[in-house]
Symmetry: C2
Subunit: 291 residues, 2 copies
DNA sequence: AACTGGAATTTCAAAAATGAAACGAAACCT
DNA sequence: AGGTTTCGTTTCATTTTTGAAATTCCAGTT
């Protein structure tokens, strides 16, 4: 295809000019002499000027080549300042992790179990569960409840999540309470279906914040289906069912298959997998006791 | 392969940043949006920093991306001055043409037949007949006496050259003269073989400059085998044989097959071919008459 | 003068990059 | 609210680039 001035050709010309030939430049750049020769020829063609005399023992710059060398050195100064900027500043990569609200809190509660400040990556948490955001690189690692289906996603199973029904310990046995659910868990979701099939009812109240729902449960006003890593973390809550088999979900770490070989992404995945396979619970102190 | 900072990635990032997304940058650079997306991702990976937020309607620079943009603009200023340097100065390409000494003089004598100052190339003549110099791009077009054999050479036949024996017109008929030859035309060359077979002798005198040999012939001191485009150009010379079939050679324009699609090389070849197919002679005034 | 070492070019198989086309989703318009 | 347009990503066939190995040749050494 037809190109503009290729800056990489300039960079390689610079290396050849500095080394006085292809052999030295090949050593300096890690690119083969054959390729460097072709790139210099390509630059001569695009600039329409002879830049080097090709001799048996190396390349000698023409007058035009010497002029170009000066300008390529200008570009190299800017390039060197880019490298200095990256090496001098924080070179730690922010790894964006997305999960549902409960799982997000689980990670935050257990941060020290999978991350320390001396690591060369920093976790950044985002509550966004769309795979499209992994495609757009807005998310590096997603924690999802099923195996990824798209071929551009790579997944790793890291355990499963059990659900059970909970109410406040202060509610008298046999007292009939309504159910609360999350807006996204509508009547067609697994939790909605379970509720209809076992209690012949739907959630009386729905909210879009899991933390708010939890407060109402702890106040003794409603019952709720919760992941056991949440429900079991609060001593003022009690299960009113055993873990519900039909609501058990898997837990997957999902990344873009292009990204999974990146060292920080891999380290983060390894650390998260180690944590999640231990089936940790929330740290309940995070939430204030209900008034 | 593992690379250093790829300057072409920087150039393409600059285009994406200026356009606010892949679509506009694709239009500006002629490179597809898919490729630009990959190149920006590659740059993020090599610099180990997120440079853009990928949104549905374009790319938005992160803080690091904005910093990098400033430095890439520095590099672009140098790149623009390279383009200005090339456009402001002479953009005409020097085309190096190599041929034997006689053919070289033929070209110079007939310069206006194949080149004019308004052309976008300038001929540069070199007396060097080695094909290796075409490989090393020290020569753009070689005029050779046989079809090129190497596969990296492209050839175009442009006629043939006849040879005949000449002496000075002033030499009396039947007067026995010795022969002069060129150093490179030794006893094993076609001319050496012909001389031995037809006259049972070798060249008495050898010189390494064709012009010097010609002077001696014109002074009436020796006889010589000459290309007819040289011998017939001098009225004070006379053929003493008809054109010698066994010494006739072909005439080929030879270029590197990589170079033959370059417009200036192609123009020069076309012009030279047009001239040489007319079987032109030397302009005899070029050489001073013998004292 | 002969031999050796080093450098560049060429060939061709392998690897990498590219782009057309399809797809998905968000923003915009009616 | 529904339809259209625009943008970015993915897939896969095609194109381009790359590098290992071979070749050639020149400079340096013995």
């Amino acid at each position: 295809m037809k190109r503009n001035l290729d800056w990489e050709d300039l960079r390689l010309f610079l290396a050849v000019a500095k080394a006085g030939g292809l052999a030295g430049a090949a050593t300096a750049t890690g690119i083969s002499a054959a390729t460097l020769g072709r790139r210099v020829s390509a630059l001569e063609e695009s600039l329409n000027v002879r830049l080097v005399e090709r001799e048996a023992r190396g390349y000698r710059l023409t007058a035009a080549g010497q002029e170009l060398l000066l300008q390529a050195e200008d570009m190299d100064r800017s390039a060197q300042s880019i490298l200095t900027w990256r090496e001098g500043g924080s070179v730690r990569r922010r790894i964006r992790i997305s999960a549902g609200e409960w799982t997000m809190r689980l990670l935050i509660d257990n941060l020290s179990a999978f991350w320390r400040p001396d690591r060369d990556w920093v976790p950044e948490f985002l509550a966004d569960l769309r795979n499209r955001d992994i495609a757009r690189r807005q998310i590096d690692i997603g924690i999802r409840n099923s195996r990824p289906k798209q071929e551009w996603l790579a997944g790793r199973k890291v355990g499963s999540v059990q659900f059970a029904a909970y109410q406040a310990r202060t509610v008298p046995a046999g007292h009939d309470l309504g159910w609360i659910g999350l807006v996204e868990d509508d009547a067609h979701s697994p939790t909605g279906i379970w509720l209809k099939e076992t209690h012949g009812t739907e959630a009386v109240i729905t909210v879009n914040k899991a933390a708010l729902a939890l407060s109402l449960v702890r106040q003794g006003q409603v019952r709720m289906l919760l992941p056991v890593f949440v429900g079991d973390a609060y001593e003022d809550l009690v299960r009113i069912t055993d873990p519900i088999e039909s609501l058990t979900t898997e837990r997957w770490l999902v990344v873009h298959h292009d990204e999974r070989h990146r060292s920080q992404v891999r380290e983060a995945c390894t650390a998260l997998a180690r944590l999640l396979k231990q089936n940790p619970c929330l740290a309940p102190d995070f939430f204030p006791a209900p008034l």
